[in-house]
Symmetry: C2
Subunit: 157 residues, 2 copies
């Protein structure tokens, strides 16, 4: 079973994302892993990640769903291609659309778990559905359309 | 013309939001103002608010749209009630759903402007549409359904 997070397989030059870049000390350092066919991210919010007292900021929840989904898209594309096809883990995805439904306020004093499933893979596009769970309750659901980063956006590569 | 940001009119106990709370030193301190019938938020990203090199992190864009929209909902509800009805600015909104379409990558070395319009006000619900502009181009659009915070979520009040 692999123990490296999806995001930690990104090459150095693509590892500065505020959400999930392992080389961004200011960022959230979001990390995702396979658990069977689901991708799972666990995140412990800081006290200052609040919205109103006692609850998690919705923008952080959007960020978790965003980076967890693009990371899952990358891992799914790599898995679909076969690991040997992409030894550098260089497949990086951008978010084309993000939709979050906040079902109930998310308590802040607990570990948040985001569980994602691949809904569609077609060409450079991957659709990912997810749910955010806290204290055993689904507090939010997400859908992300992720698209593989086009080469012209990475002129430094 | 009022010069106080919508978010700066929230009472102290509701001003700790990671996105827009004036009392959260770790947060983004997002601020919104009326310009005619549109609500406008301007934000200068830090270099570490990146996604891939040169572009803004999508989760930050979601956060800008989120707090700008809930702030606009609050200001619109206050305006609809008449300023005298809510002297403390205590009307605070939560996000029920957030939808962001990322139309093109958002350049990071510029001021981001989010312009929002009220699409619907009905009871405790406000729907807000918005667009994020950078270097004169619309890079993302947003739609937020905001709902006035129910009293049972603020037991400290």
């Amino acid at each position: 079973m692999p123990t490296e997070a999806f995001q930690d397989s990104y090459p150095d030059d693509l590892s500065h994302c505020f959400g999930c870049g392992r080389l961004n000390p200011h960022g959230h350092q979001i990390k995702s892993y396979w658990e069977g066919d689901e991708a799972v991210c666990r995140f412990t919010p800081e006290p200052y990640h609040t919205a109103i007292p006692g609850y998690v900021y919705g923008g952080l929840i959007a960020s978790l769903i965003d980076c967890h989904s693009t990371g899952t898209a990358s891992a799914a594309a790599r898995r679909a291609a076969g690991d040997g096809e992409d030894p550098e883990g260089a497949v990086r995805f951008l978010t084309a659309s993000l939709h979050v439904n906040y079902l109930k306020p998310t308590p802040i004093e607990t570990v948040l778990e985001v569980r994602a499933q691949i809904k569609e893979i077609k060409g450079r596009k991957v659709v990912i559905g997810s749910r955010l769970i806290a204290d055993g309750q689904v507090c939010a659901t997400g859908e992300v359309v992720a698209v593989q980063v086009p080469e012209h956006l990475m002129p430094h590569r």
